[in-house]
Symmetry: C2
Amino acid sequence: MTKESRKNIAYNYLREAILTWKLHPGSPIVEQDISDQLSISRTPVREALKLLEAEGLVKVMPQRGTFVFELSTQDVEEIFALRENLEVLALQAAIQSIPIDELNNLEAYLTTLTEQSPPEHFFTSDRQLHALIVVNGGNERLALFLDSLNAQVEQVRRVSALRPNRLDVSMREHLAIVQAIQARDIITAEAELRQHIRNVKQSTLDVCRNMWWQGTIGK
Amino acid sequence: MTKESRKNIAYNYLREAILTWKLHPGSPIVEQDISDQLSISRTPVREALKLLEAEGLVKVMPQRGTFVFELSTQDVEEIFALRENLEVLALQAAIQSIPIDELNNLEAYLTTLTEQSPPEHFFTSDRQLHALIVVNGGNERLALFLDSLNAQVEQVRRVSALRPNRLDVSMREHLAIVQAIQARDIITAEAELRQHIRNVKQSTLDVCRNMWWQGTIGK
DNA sequence: ATTATAGAGATTGTATACAATCAGTACACA
DNA sequence: TGTGTACTGATTGTATACAATCTCTATAAT
C-alpha cells in the first residue's frame, strides 16, 4: 500500500473531527494548532482546509480565520431540494442496471436490522443503498456532487438519525425502495425515494432547530 | 477597491488562458513557470491550481504534473445531462419570480442581434438568460455547481458557437425561452429550454469530435 | 535485440520563515 | 461619557529552500 500524503492525513483528520462533533459548528480551526497536533507543517494542513472548503465543510474568511461550517435551515432546504432531484435523476438512469444480487443482499441485510441493532449498521446500509443508486447512474460528476452535499448534512444527520423510531422507519423506507428497484418499477421507486428523502430532511430540520435553541450552534 | 490577492491573480490568469485556448487541452502547467511569468511565488500559484482542479478545469496528477483538462465526449454527455435537468429545476423555482422588466430588456436586446453582430454580444446575452434563471431559482449551491459545469465546457463552446448559423439559431431559441417565461408558461419554457440545451450539446459534441480528428487535443 | 537497472533531471510535496491584515484593547482627546 | 486612533497579538497570506517521487535515458547484462 502506498504511503498516505500528509495533506490526506490532515484532510481525513479534520473531516472526521467535524463529522463526529469533536469540532463544533462555528468553532475556529487554527492551521498552526492542527499542524502541531499532527506534527506536520502548515502547508499540507492549509491544502486540506481548502479541500474541505470546496466541499462546504469549513468556511475560510480571508485574513481572519477558518471556521467549521454552520448549517442554517436555509442550507438544509437547499441541500435536500438538490439531493431529492439529483438522486431521482440517478435512479432513472440506474434502475435497469443495478445488479439484482446486490439488491437481494441489501434486502436480506435490511430485514435483519431491529431497534436494538447498533446505529452504525443503519448508517452502513443507508450509504450502501444510495451508493448503489448513484454509482449505477453512471454520471461521475453527479456522484461527486452528491457526496459533497451529503457531507454537509452528515454532521447533523448523525444526530437526527438517532431520534426515537427514526431508525426503524428509515429501515422500512429503505426496504420499500429496494423492493421497487428489484421489480424495476421506476414509478414506485421514485415515489418512495422522494418520500424517504423528504422525511430525512424533516428530521434534519427538527434537529437543526433544536440545536439552535439549545445554543449548540450559533449563539 | 481592495487589492487583489496573488492567489486570485494566478487563478484569473490561468482560467483566462485555458478558456481562450492560450493553454491547450492536455498541455502541462508547471507551477514554477507560472510563478515566473507572474513574478509571484509558487505558493499562490499552487492554491490557484487547486481551485481550478475543484472546478474541473485542470487535472493534477500527484507527483507527476498538472495538465489542462481534456474534454471527452463522455464528459460532454455527463455535463449536459446534468445541466439540462438542473437548469429546468431552477426554471421551475424561478419562473414566477423573474422580474418582467429584466425579461423585456433581454427580449429587446435579443431582437437587435443579427448574423453580423459580434459574437461577444451573443455570449453576453446567453450568460444573461441563464443567470436570470439560475439566480432567481434561489438555490446558491445549484448556481455554483452550474457555474462549474459551464466552465468545463466553455472552452469548447467558444468554438462551437461560432459555427455557421449556430449564433442565429441560438438567438431564436433564446427568444422563445424568454417569451415563454414572460407568459409564465412553465410547460413551454421548460420544453424550449431543454431543446436549446440539447442543441448546444450536439453542437459541442460535433466540435469536440472534430478537434479529436484534427489532433487539436489528445495526440 | 531485449530487458533490467541505475542515475540524472524535472516536477510536485513539504517545511519554515517572514509579511500583511484583521480584531480587539488601551489610551488620548473632545 | 463617548469617540477616534495607535498599538499589540493572533492568524492567514506569501516566499523560499529542501525533500520525495516520477519519467526518461543511458548503460549493462542476458
